[in-house]
């Protein structure tokens, strides 16, 4: 045992680094390539745009990372984005609270509250009814998206709800991108701190690795899984606040386009789909990478189907690395 580890330590560490930090290397390569070849990439306008685009999916991706760490998935974030957007916008524009000083706080509360509620429903389905998160959140996604479209058609003439207070738009980068970027950064750091330093974070990794061993070791498995689902919902709710502010309207189709990019970001970032390994930092890299990819493809005028193709291949590669590293371990047993 001693000789094995000694022999492989340098090489192993290098390999481990290349595997675990491959997303960072890829990100830097992509950035360098884009700076050299994509016209207008380094312009202030484009960099701003790039940051705003990454803000669009950052919070919800970080939130869903919690669920993936437990080997699950959360489809319902799509519905939370939509529900939050239409109910929040309605609260700010058309409800009795509209045009009062309470409009914006109430709107934000509604959006985050919807995330909390949907997350709690998912959590109960998974923990109490013992449903796979795949099914539980697919159901809430379908119901929630339906409700969002129905509600929007009820209160707005067109599909989207407009007439939101102007001061709300600073959250969307209306007065400069610093505020939304700062909010996203703080949330990501908070999530990272939670996972990497607290007892709760340790439980997340333990439960994600082996829930039975965690249970026998006296860890609160159910509570942990429930909280993960709730956190994912709350983060999606916060994302809905930022997205609604950026679009300056309550839009029921807000989440439709971004779901693929959220999941792709997490997986390309290197969080394992089997649970138990991954991190918020990885997801942040993943989000930046996906945004960069979208941006570059856009600048180069490449057709959109190509990008879907590239993302698909990248997700497959990331998943393969994930499975491969596990299989190597199995053989070494």
């Amino acid at each position: 045992m001693e000789t094995m580890t000694a022999k492989t330590s340098t090489l192993g560490r290098l390999r481990r680094f290349a595997l675990s930090e491959s997303i960072l290397l890829l990100l830097l390569l992509m950035f360098g390539g884009a700076a050299l070849f994509a016209p207008g990439f380094l312009s202030l306008f484009n960099i701003k745009n790039l940051l705003l685009q990454s803000v669009d999916i950052m919070v919800v991706s970080v939130g869903m990372t919690f669920v993936l760490l437990n080997g699950g998935i959360d489809f319902s974030c799509v519905a939370v984005l939509a529900l939050g957007s239409v109910f929040g916008a309605w609260t700010m524009a058309d409800s009795p609270l509209a045009h009062t000083p309470m409009a914006i706080p109430a709107g934000i509360l509604v959006m985050v509250g919807i995330g909390l509620l949907v997350g709690a429903i998912n959590g109960l389905s998974v923990v109490v009814l013992k449903m796979p998160s795949f099914i539980a959140t697919l159901a809430t996604m379908m119901v929630g998206s339906g409700v969002a479209v129905w509600f929007a058609s009820l209160v707005a003439e067109k599909a989207s709800i407009i007439g939101l207070p102007e001061s709300f738009f600073i959250l969307g980068g209306d007065q400069g991108i610093l505020l939304p970027v700062a909010i996203v950064l703080v949330l990501a750091l908070l999530a990272h701190w939670l996972l990497s330093t607290t007892l709760f974070g340790r439980w997340v990794y333990a439960v994600g690795t082996n829930p039975r061993a965690a249970f026998v070791s006296g860890m609160p498995v159910k509570r942990t899984v429930f909280l993960l689902m709730v956190l994912s919902g709350v983060f999606a709710g916060i994302q809905s606040v930022l997205a609604t502010a950026r679009n300056q309207a309550g839009i029921p189709s807000l989440g439709d386009r971004v779901f693929i990019d959220i999941v792709a970001s997490i997986i390309i970032g290197g969080t394992s789909v089997f649970g138990g390994s991954g991190s918020v930092i990885k997801t942040v890299y993943g989000v930046l990478f996906i945004t960069l990819l979208n941006n570059v493809v856009n600048l180069l005028g490449i057709e959109w189907y190509v990008i879907s193709l590239i993302k698909g291949i990248l997700v497959l590669t990331a998943a393969f690395i994930d499975v491969f590293s596990k299989r190597v371990d199995l053989v070494q047993r």
Partner: protein, 502 residues
């Protein structure tokens, strides 16, 4: 007489993670004999056979099969060369039928690759009749008892023209009756079909009854091989253990105090049917029973890993209202699971993470943040105290350790909590002799400090060596309690079989 030997192993070596498991084994197997292969857990029996079966590659040495070199790289190679394996865990598909299982790797096909079920059933029926399998070819394997499943597997081996059949602990999950019919079948394979048999077991009675010759492995060395007639049980045990039992089972001075733990009428399904027991401080109590007696189910209920249907537990004068692992740990109890891989360890996580898995909640400070220095210190302490052989507990994965060291990690995560009640389910399974000894010392140390130990094992000798008292379970009930002075192998066994224990 080299012509006589169907199989010759020369100087076979094998290491796992730098720990040598086989130290140059030389073994010749004669054509048509029944060769017994015995040794303690971890002696290298299974590894040797896995090398032969192409399951794991060997490090060195050569294998000669029927006069030519044999280089198996997969179990398929071995099967093609006429070597079949009957494993501890059967490798049948429980959702398929008997006939499908027999022909699984070469389903007879007709036009358009459609499976020729009629032909398959007819052919399967032929062999089933010959071997007395108590099932029709269209029965699903999942609905058959273990003994019949095993016969199906043997049938499959014979249909594949196996010349050598290796049985690896085939009787562990069989009833007495099933065992007898298995032995009759082995006799037939041997006499009627001329098949060479390698029979691995640690049940010496069986080996003596069945085998022409016996080979003994100890710590990866072949320590002896001889005709059964020239050996007796004590001699084989001496070869297997390599030392007196007193050296294997350490003795301690300790005092047994008052009753602290009391279970009343514990019931769970059909597995546990109203068990009551009383345990004292400083007492090590063994729990023995055959496969299916309900030992594991009982202790899992006691710790709340599985829910009990009814029953009550009193610990240190208080009745426990909530019985979950979390609550039991809070009361000062600990539980070493039988299933190390699935329930004991976080295999892909570092040794350190595993060692603090239970104690972590007491190592937090401000805002629930884990105190890393304390965490590392506790882990390092456990590594030192238990002599866990690991290079870097902070980074090395639990699964990279040997079985014995893995088990010490499991013990370590509990011992650091200083439990006053310790439930151990098969704590020495898959652990080598040296580590076993260390585990016994750990258990003794716990008891000496006044902890109560409930020790489940299917190795009777181990219980007789370590425990102050042995409880025997049969069909979900405790049907006997023996003090040390009453220990007698046959008596314990007859109790376990449901007898009165004379």
């Amino acid at each position: 007489m080299p012509a006589d030997n169907v199989l010759t192993l020369r100087n076979i070596t094998k290491s796992f993670f730098g720990a040598q498991v086989l130290h140059g084994i030389d073994l010749a197997v004669r054509r048509g004999e029944v060769l017994g292969l015995v040794g303690e857990n971890g002696a290298g029996k299974s590894t040797l056979m896995n090398v032969l079966g192409g399951v794991v590659p060997r490090d060195g040495g050569s294998i000669e099969l029927k006069g030519s070199a044999f280089e198996p790289t997969s179990p398929r190679d071995a099967l093609k060369a006429g070597i079949a394996f009957i494993h501890q865990e059967l490798s049948l598909f429980s959702n398929l039928t008997v006939a499908e299982n027999i022909f699984i790797d070469e389903l007879p096909t007709g036009p358009l690759w459609s499976v020729q079920y009629e032909q398959m059933r007819a052919k399967a029926q032929e062999y089933i009749g010959a071997f007395g399998v108590e099932a029709s070819p269209v029965t699903k394997i999942g609905s058959l008892p273990m003994g019949v499943r095993q016969t199906v597997e043997i049938t499959k081996a014979v249909i594949k023209n196996a010349e050598i059949i290796i049985f690896d602990e085939p009787t562990t999950s069989l009833s007495q009756k099933e065992k007898e019919s298995l032995f009759k079948l082995i006799e037939r394979l041997h006499h009627e079909y001329g098949i060479t048999i390698i029979y691995i077991s640690h049940i010496l009675e069986d080996v003596f009854a069945l085998c022409d010759r016996i080979a003994v492995l100890r710590d990866g060395h072949l320590v002896g091989v001889d005709e059964t007639g020239r050996l007796d049980k004590p001699a084989v045990i001496r070869m297997m253990v390599g030392r007196d039992l007193s050296q294997v089972y350490p003795k301690v001075e300790k005092t047994v105090g008052d009753v602290v733990y009391e279970a009343r009428n514990v019931v769970q399904g059909r597995a546990v049917q109203g068990v009551s027991l009383e345990l004292r401080t400083g007492e090590i109590v063994g729990l023995f029973g055959l496969m299916g007696a309900g030992r594991t189910e009982l202790v899992r209920c006691l710790f709340g890993v599985d829910r009990m249907d009814s029953g009550e537990i009193t610990f240190r004068g208080r009745r426990l209202r909530s019985i979950t692992p979390e609550a039991c740990i809070r009361q000062g109890m600990a539980f070493v699971t039988e299933d190390r891989r699935q329930e004991g360890l976080f295999m892909p996580k570092p040794v350190k993470d595993n060692l603090v898995a239970v104690g972590l909640r007491h190592m937090t400070g401000l805002l629930g943040m884990v105190k890393r220095p304390q965490e590392s210190a506790e882990a390092a302490k456990a590594v030192g105290n238990l002599g866990i052989r690991v290079q870097d507990p902070e980074r090395q994965q639990a699964k990279s350790l040997s079985g014995g060291n893995q088990q010490k990690v499991v013990l370590g995560k509990w011992i650091s909590q200083q439990p006053t009640m310790f439930i151990l389910d098969e704590p020495t399974r898959g652990v080598d002799v040296g580590a076993k000894h260390e585990i016994y010392e750990i258990i003794n140390g716990m008891a000496k400090r006044g902890a109560t130990v409930l020790f489940v094992s299917s190795e009777m000798e181990e219980l007789m060596g370590v425990c102050d008292r042995i409880l025997v379970m049969h069909r979900g009930q405790i049907i006997g309690s023996l003090e040390r002075s009453e220990y007698h192998q046959e008596r314990i066994m007859s109790l376990a079989l449901g007898g009165r224990g004379r």
